[in-house]
Amino acid sequence: MKFLIVLFVSIVFSMTGKELSILMDNRESPKDVSSELNMEITNKKGRVRKSKIKSISKDNNAKQILWFLSPADDKGISYLKIEHDNQDDEIRLWLPGFKKFRRISSNKKADSFMGSDLSYEDMTSRQMKDYSFKIIDSNADIDGKSCYILESIPNGIDSEYSRHITWVDDNTYLAIKEESFNQNGNLLKLKKIKYKLIDSFHLVSEIFVENIQKKSNTKLTFSNLNINTGIKNKMFQEKNMKRLPRK
């Protein structure tokens, strides 16, 4: 309902950045998603490292576990993420060699996820209250799709970025492309996102992140996407990080 009101208001009056972000945030999403990810990290010398990951998530990605299936060096490593509204998000890492969990504290969110160009901050959702939003352009175009250009600026939170510029499809309210700038105002990362329609849900099928300064890039491809399979909340606990999920 809220979505419709906002939509109506935004149609009648020109939309604000905040309204657009609400629309983005309130898009319908499945109860849970399981998928397989292929991650390709290419460094500045052109060397490529490929990983295979199993993912389950719930509540619009607020809860997620990732298990690394390959290469053999990384197999057994897993991540658990639980996002909270009113407290710090929890990200934990399981190290099978040391039989230890490590909690990634909020001041380490700029750290790289498994050596990729995605940081932990990139992997967590942005809380509306933590950002100020502004539409820079309502009639932009990208790859033949009309879109908004939305600027998001962190508001007093610890972030490695000073702002993000996001191209948002004006039909689906999906982020298609994003430029993220570091604290010095220089372009740090360029992200491109693709989606796949499954049962009326737009699910991320590919994320491409390029670190402009390090001249490296990461490509995440999602496959075997299954939705609403009844993943329980109790799946998202430490003990399940230690064991790979049955197929």
């Binding site: 490929k50 060699g97 040391f98 039989k99 380490k108 498994m114 050596g115 230690k242 064991r243």
Partner: protein, 894 residues
Amino acid sequence: MFNKYIKQNFIQQTLKFPLKTIFISLGLTAIIGLGLLWFEIDDDFVKLLPQDIPSKIIWDDIQQDFGASEIMLIAFGNKNKSIYRKEVFDAVWDLTDSLKIQKDLVEEVISIKTLNRLESKDGFMEVGDLFVNSEGILTKNIDNKDIENIKNYLGDNPNIKSRIISKYDNYVSIVIRPVLNTNMTETVERIKPIVTSVLNEEFEVHYAGQVYITGEVPDLIKKDTSTLVVLAILLMIIVLLINFRNISAVLMILIIIILSMISMAGFMGWMHKLTGLFIFKFTMMNTSMPVVLLTIANSDGVHILTRFFRETRKQQNVKDGVKTTLEALFLPIFLTSFTTAIAFLAFIFSPVEQMTGYGISIAFAIMWAWILSTTLLPSMILLKKWNVDASYIKKESFIEKIVRIIGKNISKAPKKVLYIAISIVLVSIYGFQYLDIEVNTSKFFKQGHPIRESNEFVDYQLTGSMNFLINTIGNHKDPNVLNDINNLQVYLEKQDRINTTISIADIVKQMNKTFQGNNDAYKIPNEGKWDVYCKSDYDISEFKFDVNGANDKLIIKTVSNDMEHEYLEITHKPANHISGRITNSNHPIYAWETTLISFTSDKKPESLNNINITDHNGNLQDFVFVDSNKEKPLNSLWIKSVDQMKVDNLFTLYEQGGGKSDDFDAVVQQDSLGTYNNGLITGMMQSISTKETIKLVNDLESYIDNNISSNLETKISGLAVFFRDFVNLLIQSSIISILISIFVIFIISWFFFKGLKWGLLAIVPLTCAVILNFGLMGLFGIKLSHITAILTAIIIGVGVDFAIHYISEFKRNLKDNIPLETITKDNVDDVGYPILLDVLSNMGFVTLLFSTLIPLNYMGGLMVFAMLSTSMGTLTLLASLIEINKEYLRKNKQ
């Protein structure tokens, strides 16, 4: 046939048409000299080294994978001041930046500014820069507190500190790894001015490293040689002038020498142009060529002019004097040139490729010198107006008088002379066992020389100025392989002259220590811990199996899939048998790709036998044991090394903490699947002699054979190691050239002098001179190197000439029926003067004794000795042998 046809034609042409002969010779020389347009000098010493020997091939492969292995080190500071002050850190910053921008020359700069800092933070490893301010930002603007911080970090990590800070904290070093295959001389020439411009004069600066030495040496040799050779030529001119007492004669000889040099350089240029081969470039190996050609071209000219003066004195007619000179000397000069040329062509068989070009070029130049000596020189003599009554023709020179004395003595007591000569040769044979080799260029400098002092400074205060490499092939994340590498390093660092080593094992130890936050964890994870994994759709209520291959000390470490399964009861009897049973059926063991149980064992477990698994329904399931590297079917068990997983996790944490996988490129390379299977141990050591290098490498190979497991394959290389193999080649090269030359000269002499006995006699002085020279080198501790090895060329070039002249003249005298009573005296009178004059005029090379380079000192001394030994060998040993056997020789004359 040769004598009659070619010789007569040659002589007639010269006698009848001297002007035409001059123009033709000059014209042809000019055409050859055109090749100077393509004459190239190449200072790159590394290219001279044989490319196809195994250690060089390994070295090339290592450098392809890991980049240039040889470094240039710049150390600066002040003797009595700590480096932990702002001025020093500013200088490090500025110098690092100035060097890094030379991208065509510099691959990597290692300094305090470029090093990483690994720290434990919040249970993770954080990888950052070492040269940072209090906010962790890489900046030049650091204060004393930040410097103190850096100092503390380095103090906590001595293995890192030792690579860049001196023993007493008063010097800091910057290491430059050049771009692969750059010219070392050019590298040094460009870097030194940069260092001078950045570092102010308050710092004491030292340079070291193989790049520096190899880059500096060619230039030093060039400078030294060019100055001293000019002096030698001046001395030669003076000696010739004193003896000939006529400037035209000296000038004519000089003209022949200069034109021969031009033709040699021109020939090299033409050959380089036509073939493109590196062997025809002028390199450090070729620096002795002008010296060798000088002595030979000088020799021809001296023989002709002395003979001309002698004949003209007799015949009182210039044309007759020239004619007789040519008739007498045409064959011997041809023979001496031909045999010398053939002797140098024997260098084709040298395993040192550059010597092939040397041999071919100088062989050509020698033959051209012969042509000029027998055409241009006599023509010039004919065209000049000589005063036959002048004292320089009429009166004997001082040397001629000395030669008479020698001739008389040999005739009087030939056996005595022979025995004395043989004794000297025999004594020198004793010196062979002491003959030693030194090819380490850093040992080429005398004590007190700035380069040697800097090298020694770096040897004792810092990491050392030489290195060697061990290429390691194996899984570099396998703790067993890492332990092997570590043990190898421990062995190496116990050796006297090795200061430090670095490999991926050091990095793993550093990561482990940082992650664990504990100095005691500075080691390779190696607890001998193993996890048994299972994969099944069923949960498990009971399991049993025997661990095959683990030793009796198998100890259960943890239990269950979750490591804290409270309902699992474990039995561990007999020693290698493990059984587990769930005591609460509501909590079976989750069996999909998780651990079942962990245990430690000193020995690596090979497999699991007698497997019995019961699922949560109480049904016995068929399970198989599989290799952990293979595909895992359903209902399978496998064993994984926990230590290996720790190493894997450390690398993951490193990248997570801000590090990059290519940070390790200098010590390990990834293949296309991301496996670290190609590693490098770099050992930094003090500059050691070739002998010590040989021992070090041999001992190392022995240690590896006896102590390193088959999981790790090793290949030893590096410039220092490569020199060991080069040394063997050098010896081979010298021996091959000498033997072939002696044999060829023997055959040619046999052929031309028409008799086996003459062939044998011709090689007597040469053989004795070789023995004398090398024997005395051994006795006096003069080391054989790739510079002094060229001595064989000089001995061959000169040694045979005197004998051929002597034999040729003797045969002539026999033919002319000179009385046997005076034949030796007459012979010595005829050939002794040019021989001695030749020797004396080449005494100028004694100036090389004043070179700053030890090998050039040896060259100078040995050259002088070679001339003396070959000439005296001819005038004593050969002369007395012939004198003793003259009756026999007359009877069997051909």
